[in-house]
Symmetry: C2
């Protein structure tokens, strides 16, 4: 439980000595290093990184505004301008130190600056460790659509150090947990509670989640087929995130995915794909581990419109990942507006 | 002399029947097609294309402003907005109908919209037919730096129909000729005049140039090694284009590359890499086929600064492709400011 390989990307599970990252940087010949962080990781994570990782004393630091709002083309242009101003060459290295937002935006900048430079992800949130930082998907939002502009471009390394989670708010932990339970639903044979109090058991769960994702990405890097299953819960989830952002209502990615997973599970049962037994197991596990909050009926039509525009959509009807059983997802199931509204109504019935 | 393959991209040499393109579109299952053109190709080329290519009756048309100025992030955002507004799915197709600018910007949009959709290049200038449209390099300019933002993302097809050249101004033809002579200098054993009046001979020259480029890109798609030789003449050439654009002075890509090729040839001779005989052959061929215009001495320092920021540059000194002989280039030769200025001074001495 130390390293996983995803093509030319090495995923290291490290402690605060950062042994593998230090070795990688010592053996490489980058002309310069730029660290991209946000206001939170600048304060809580950067000091440790600068102290423990050699070769970073001369690194340029780019500090982004905090939160999903910074995943914009304007912010990316600002990164380009700083890279140009400091004359960063094609042989530079970008290190993304942060959650999914920093990894997505920094990875996108790396993938298009000078037609692509090397980058490393150091995820600092649980969500980024088990999902966003892994697999090379980069992206920014545009006109309210999440990740509508982006690339698939693998980092050179991903450094996973769960000690960064010590400074993370509890809500952010739950956001990552949603993706870990998603992995159980689509990839494992049974649902198991994730132990948050035993560090060794928890790290093993993180490792298992990452390992599952790596296996999927290796089979289908450009999301032609298998990789689509990772979008379980995300058709509705992304629409909710997009819409809540338009109406300036805060919601975490994990909260939105939880709603999406419940709806997709209900749709699977409603379509008679999923047994009542598996349906109950999934719903009760999610209910036991997450606080559910109502989605206003007034939003349903707007959410449907956003789903039609989801980039995962090949055709005009929203496309879902549904389930034939726990651990047995099926991709590209088109679902009607009426069914989607019924699934959201079912979700709301659980919010008591 | 009908088709070349570049990985999954087919390069078809067509006449006005567009037999291969018609077959490709009939056999594919795109949910929609968007044609990107500029004001000139909208007028001179689009009518023929719409008339002769089936499946395009419902195509969305995006018309860009004409010229290099439109290769900006603002224009790309405008393309994204139109694709979103018309709800283009991940299974859409973009067709770029135009010169290098349209192919570069349309290819970039295709490579990042929904993390990449399929696209086809139909180059309408000689420069685009023999160079810009081939090889998957996409890009936009930013802060005066040419193609500083971009990707390497191959089109599905490239359609080369030299009949489009009938409406092209003579100066634009010379711009393409510069790249064709460049191919002779770096890739063929000897320099030969290109016949512009015999259609069959001319088409054969176009085919030979494309075939050479395809061979290079196949060996080294991501420009780690061999592909760099295609940048012969471009270190100084790109700096001139960038600077002239900053000071609002018109210059065609080919004119800038001609200056760059003469300077690089002189540098090769000056460094005693190239024989006097080969040096003379190259210089006289270029002089016989192109009109040379003075580069003001006052620009030299600004040009050098831009070269330091060239994206081909791995290190701080500008990097050049030089020659050991006709057809024998060497890559990544660092050249000092003093030598670059001397080479530009030599170029100016030819402008009599």
């Amino acid at each position: 439980m130390n390293v996983l390989k995803l093509k030319s990307c090495s995923i290291y599970f490290e402690d605060d000595r950062f042994t593998n990252l230090n070795a990688y940087l010592s053996n490489s010949q980058y002309t310069s290093i730029t660290i991209i962080c946000d206001t939170l990781t600048y304060k809580h994570c950067l000091p440790l990184v600068l102290k423990r990782i050699k070769n970073l004393s001369k690194a340029h630091i780019i500090k982004l505004p905090n939160g999903e709002k910074s995943k914009s083309i304007d912010v990316v242009q600002n990164i380009f301008a700083q890279l140009i101003k400091t004359q960063q060459s094609k042989k530079m290295l970008i290190i993304n130190l942060g959650g999914g937002t920093v990894c997505d935006i920094g990875g996108f900048a790396a993938s298009v600056y000078k037609r692509g430079v090397d980058y490393i992800n150091i995820p600092t949130t649980l969500l980024a460790m088990v999902d966003a930082a892994i697999g090379g998907k980069t992206g920014v939002n545009f006109l309210g659509l999440k990740n509508i502009i982006g690339t698939i471009y693998q980092p050179k390394c991903i450094i996973i150090n769960t000690n960064f989670l010590n400074t993370l708010p509890q809500l952010e932990i739950y956001s990552g947990l949603a993706e870990m339970y998603k992995t159980q639903i689509i990839g494992f044979k049974k649902m198991q509670p994730i132990n948050l109090t035993n560090k060794t058991l928890f790290q093993q769960s993180v490792y298992n989640t990452v390992k599952f994702k790596v296996g999927i990405v290796l089979k289908d890097e450009f999301e032609q087929h298998e990789r689509k299953i990772l979008n379980f819960g995300h058709t509705i989830g992304h629409a909710i995130e997009g819409y809540y952002s338009q109406i300036n209502t805060q919601i975490l990615h994990g909260e939105a995915v939880v709603i999406g997973m419940i709806c997709a599970t209900w749709l699977s049962y409603h379509r008679q794909l999923l047994s009542h037994n598996d349906f109950e197991k999934i719903i009760s596990t999610i209910k036991n581990n997450f606080k559910l909050t109502l989605v206003s009926k007034q939003y349903f039509s707007a959410l449907y419109l956003l789903m039609q525009n989801d980039k995962k959509n090949s055709f005009k009807l929203p496309s879902f990942i549904l389930l034939k059983a726990i651990g047995l997802p099926i991709i590209q199931v088109e679902v009607s507006k009426m069914e989607i509204i019924k699934s959201l109504t079912y979700y709301n019935s659980l919010c008591k």
